[in-house]
């Protein structure tokens, strides 16, 4: 399943109001809760923080990919946030991150989880697409970018 299938305006936030790594994760998890994609906040939030404790998912090029397995979702669930101001996510290149992909997957669906993460890894190699994403001003604009690209 392509990322474009999983993304709709209600799971995209532009701009994020968070200022720190835990705040970004909580804000995106709350977005999923509000969209009816999560039954609760704390368990997935804790799972995401536990994964970050193993090593930051902040990549180069301003992308961060917080992700975790959790029994609180039945299918792969994705949220996207854009923070034009940049947020310190302890990224690999030490620069602030401004595009966040948050993924939650049930433990028995590793295949789709890995496919979605691999798609994000490829997106991270496209400076043009990343520039367009980081300059998007509405959730709908972000969704359209995924459908057109």
């Amino acid at each position: 399943m392509a990322l474009a299938d999983l993304i709709s305006p209600e799971v995209v936030k532009v701009p994020l109001t968070a200022r720190t790594k835990p705040e970004v994760i909580r804000e995106l998890a709350q977005l999923l809760l509000d969209a009816g994609k999560l039954p609760e906040l704390e368990a997935p939030y804790d799972a995401l923080l536990a994964r970050e404790a193993l090593g930051s998912t902040g990549l180069e090029q301003g992308i961060a990919v917080p992700h975790a397995k959790t029994n609180t979702v039945r299918t792969l669930t994705v949220a996207i946030g854009i923070a034009p101001q940049g947020i310190d996510f302890q990224s690999a290149d030490g620069k602030p991150s401004n595009i966040f992909f948050l993924l939650l997957a049930p433990p028995d669906q590793s295949g789709p989880h890995i496919a979605a993460l691999a798609e994000i890894a490829r997106i991270a190699k496209s400076p043009t697409f990343l520039r367009l994403l980081s300059s998007a001003s509405t959730p709908r604009e972000v969704v359209e970018l995924f459908r057109e690209a």
């Binding site: 399943m1 392509a2 474009a4 299938d5 994964r51 193993l54 090593g55 998912t57 990549l59 990919v65 992700h67 690999a92 433990p107 028995d108 669906q109 590793s110 295949g111 789709p112 989880h113 890995i114 496919a115 993460l117 691999a118 798609e119 994000i120 890894a121 490829r122 997106i123 991270a124 995924f146 459908r147 057109e148 690209a149």
Partner: protein
């Protein structure tokens, strides 16, 4: 003269669509008296890419590899059970590597006539043409490909198979 379809391969990736595809492939195999095989590919290439991109740490890569190998057995067992319920023999195989390449290799090695796959992404982006493994498989295999849609009808067909 042999029928038009002698050997069917269904690609199982754990999605609901691929299980529906397996049910349809079972119906087809019965109808055409064809041999049936099911293949799951552990996408080790993607795992390697994720480690390289630093999305995964090493321990996580190993954990996901174990998960995928367990998924492979679980889903292949499920498909085997679906076939057995209809009195059909099925060969189930797990491979690892690059998904579309493993599918293509299996088709060539086993002279598969028909590859059956679950529904593709409903939204097709230009990236899919280059990177989506199901999309690449259907373009690269030398045999005919059948994309299974309409889950409800397939389930009815499967259930009505005596």
């Amino acid at each position: 003269m042999d029928g038009p379809i002698r050997k069917i391969l269904v690609y199982v990736d754990g999605t609901e669509g691929s299980i529906t595809a397996a049910q349809y492939a079972i119906c087809l195999a019965r109808f055409y008296r064809a041999e049936l095989a099911a293949l799951y590919v552990v996408n080790t290439r993607a795992l390697g890419e994720l480690l390289k991109a630093r999305i995964f740490v090493k321990a996580e890569q190993e954990e996901y590899l174990r998960d995928l190998e367990q998924d492979a057995q679980r889903y292949l067992n499920h498909v085997r059970s679906l076939a057995r319920k209809k009195g059909l023999a099925i060969e189930t195989l797990s491979a690892s590597g690059t998904v579309h390449q493993e599918i293509k290799d299996f088709v060539l090695r086993n002279r598969v006539d028909l590859l059956v796959m679950g529904e593709l992404s409903s939204v097709r982006s230009r990236r899919d043409e280059l990177y989506d493994e199901a999309d690449r498989a259907l373009r690269s295999v030398p045999c005919s490909v059948l994309i299974v849609k309409d889950e409800e009808r397939v389930i009815q067909l499967y259930d009505s198979l005596t």
